[in-house]
Symmetry: C2
DNA sequence: GTGAAAGCGCTAACAT
DNA sequence: ATGTTAGCGCTTTCAC
């Protein structure tokens, strides 16, 4: 790998001139520019980004910390983030925290140690509740989970409202014995629970059951299996992420309850399969790509202008009504 | 951010001693070690990885280049890679190439510029056919797509065999007018086509149609829609990745052909939804997590020992027979 | 055992 | 307009 010195020697100029040419700085004669570019070309020179990062005390990397990239929500978000990062010459560090505060802390350390320019970050419940204690000096945009205190940019959806809307839809369809499955590890789960309860309360109903679960299909499956044993069983299940939803569907299927007649099923997150399963599922679709794009855009703006006031962007989920909750198709 | 100098000053030693202590080098007196560690603790010192990377001419990062992280195959692989990377103190750079040789080339450049220690890489068809011309000096493990020439470690599945097995299964079920949907942009698509044709030939049949498509649901959907118009229509469709498969399912559904009676549907890649859709889909399940883990393990071994002979690991896909191809449930 | 000093590749302040 | 040089933070000779 040739260094800037090699280029300077080959072009018969100083390294400073090479640097100037490459940075498109003014005050370089056309002749010098030509000679430098020729040498760069001939040697196949590429600037060493590690050296540049050290010197500039600033790298062109950004860190993306999510709980699990396999969660379709984060898969989509990460794609959006990466797209925009790529367009702007940033490279993406990816880390899965597994909703584990310790792993999360290690990754935050690592991102700092790597001197990333910025961070897009979906904090665990623990981190979102003690955000200021994290002492993040890196420009950060928080996604998906609201942070109580602390100055940060955030991109969120209105979880309470979305869960409220979804629950109301179930109630309008005549379901009354509702069960809620929530993520236990993020504040998002709590918020969706609030919307769920609010809708029920307004109808003078109480939840039949509520479960806070880790974000795995298996967890949704096992919880649902158990819940279906109750006498009388629930007549509707609301699962607040795509993993719990998939698990719930599997359990209801196996138990032989017809959907939507005996039991209604609704959840969060539009994925490839929600319209394709049997029956197609009613969900709140989050604008995942837009969330990722917005987060990255806000980060870029903050890098450009650190004094910007902190902003909190709240996007709305979209209710997609499908057969899994259509108990009254005629109504 | 305190630097090693600050630690040295605080501990009353030289930076060399601090470095030695942190690297757990021998020949440091217990007293010095104690003082250094105390100062490190007190100042909250963290080594700057950018500086270390420059000095060592070696970073603790690895690059993962895939066509699209949203493809469930790559989502799973990336999770496995990240797990193992994390366990070994490596941080992951992620890039989507979109099957675009130019974007791919830029990313390969970028990875080199960042001086990554190693690369896990799913080449476009173009790159896999001209692999030596890529002139990769970084230790690399190629996944998913075989590379013709060139010394590289690879982790693959036997695509010809898998497609052959899947096609035979369709033929055994009595389907005869088979259509194949293949990825156009990777060599994987070609290989699966070979297995498809081989099975047909052995039954003295010819494919009704074959289509090479970009890896998008929409592409699978549109192609299938068109294919179903034929007179007589196909009686089975084989889609060689999960995106084309989802598109095909959607089109068949809309056209109102009952699966598996009027038309059989089979494909590649087990995902959350393949067992949950209506009807559940027969697929070749690739051991995605194992592929990612193996790739990363091979990379770590090569970093440890660059003189290792190059290895090609071929894993077998697993045929999961479900209702979508069960035309003869009794047989 | 410990410290002084060079140097990884780059940029920017300063000198000319 | 161009060159000289210091220094980003670290590790590793080399000298003592």
């Amino acid at each position: 790998m040739p260094s800037i010195k090699d280029v300077a020697r080959a072009a018969g100029v100083s390294t400073a001139t090479v640097s100037r040419v490459l940075a498109d700085k003014p005050y370089v004669s056309p002749e010098m520019r030509r000679r430098v570019l020729e040498a760069v070309e001939r040697l196949g020179y590429r600037p060493n980004l590690v050296a540049r990062g050290l010197r500039a005390q600033q790298t062109n990397t950004i860190g993306l910390l999510v709980s699990d990239i396999r969660n379709p929500y984060f898969t989509d978000v990460s794609r959006a983030v990466e797209d925009l990062a790529y367009e702007h010459g940033f490279t993406l560090f990816l880390g899965n925290t597994d909703e584990n505060p310790q792993k999360e802390a290690l990754y935050l350390q690592s991102m700092r140690d790597h001197n990333v320019a910025g961070l897009i970050f979906s904090p665990t419940r623990h981190a979102s509740e003690h955000f200021t204690k994290l002492n993040l000096t890196i420009p950060t945009v928080v996604i998906d989970r609201a942070v109580r205190e602390g100055d940060v940019d955030m991109v969120l959806i209105d979880n309470i409202e979305a869960a409220y809307r979804l629950t109301n839809h179930l109630l309008e369809q005549g379901y009354t014995r509702l069960v809620g499955l929530f993520g236990e590890t993020s504040v998002t789960g709590r918020e969706r629970q609030r919307g769920f309860e609010k809708a029920l309360r307004e109808h003078n109903l109480a939840p039949l059951q509520m479960r806070f679960l880790p974000p795995y299909i298996q967890a949704g499956y096992e919880a649902t299996r158990a819940l279906l044993q109750a006498q009388p069983p629930p007549d509707a299940i609301l699962a607040t992420n795509s993993l719990l939803l998939a698990g719930a569907l599997k359990a209801i299927r196996e138990a032989g309850f017809p959907i939507p007649e005996a039991i209604g099923l609704a959840g969060f997150d539009e994925t490839t399969w929600t319209p394709l399963v049997d029956p197609p599922l009613t969900v709140i679709a989050q604008p995942t790509y837009e969330i990722g794009r917005m987060a990255m855009r806000m980060l870029l703006e903050r890098l450009e202008n650190p004094d910007l006031p902190y902003r909190q962007v709240i996007l709305k989920g979209q209710l997609l009504v499908r057969r899994s909750t259509q108990r009254r198709p005629g109504v």
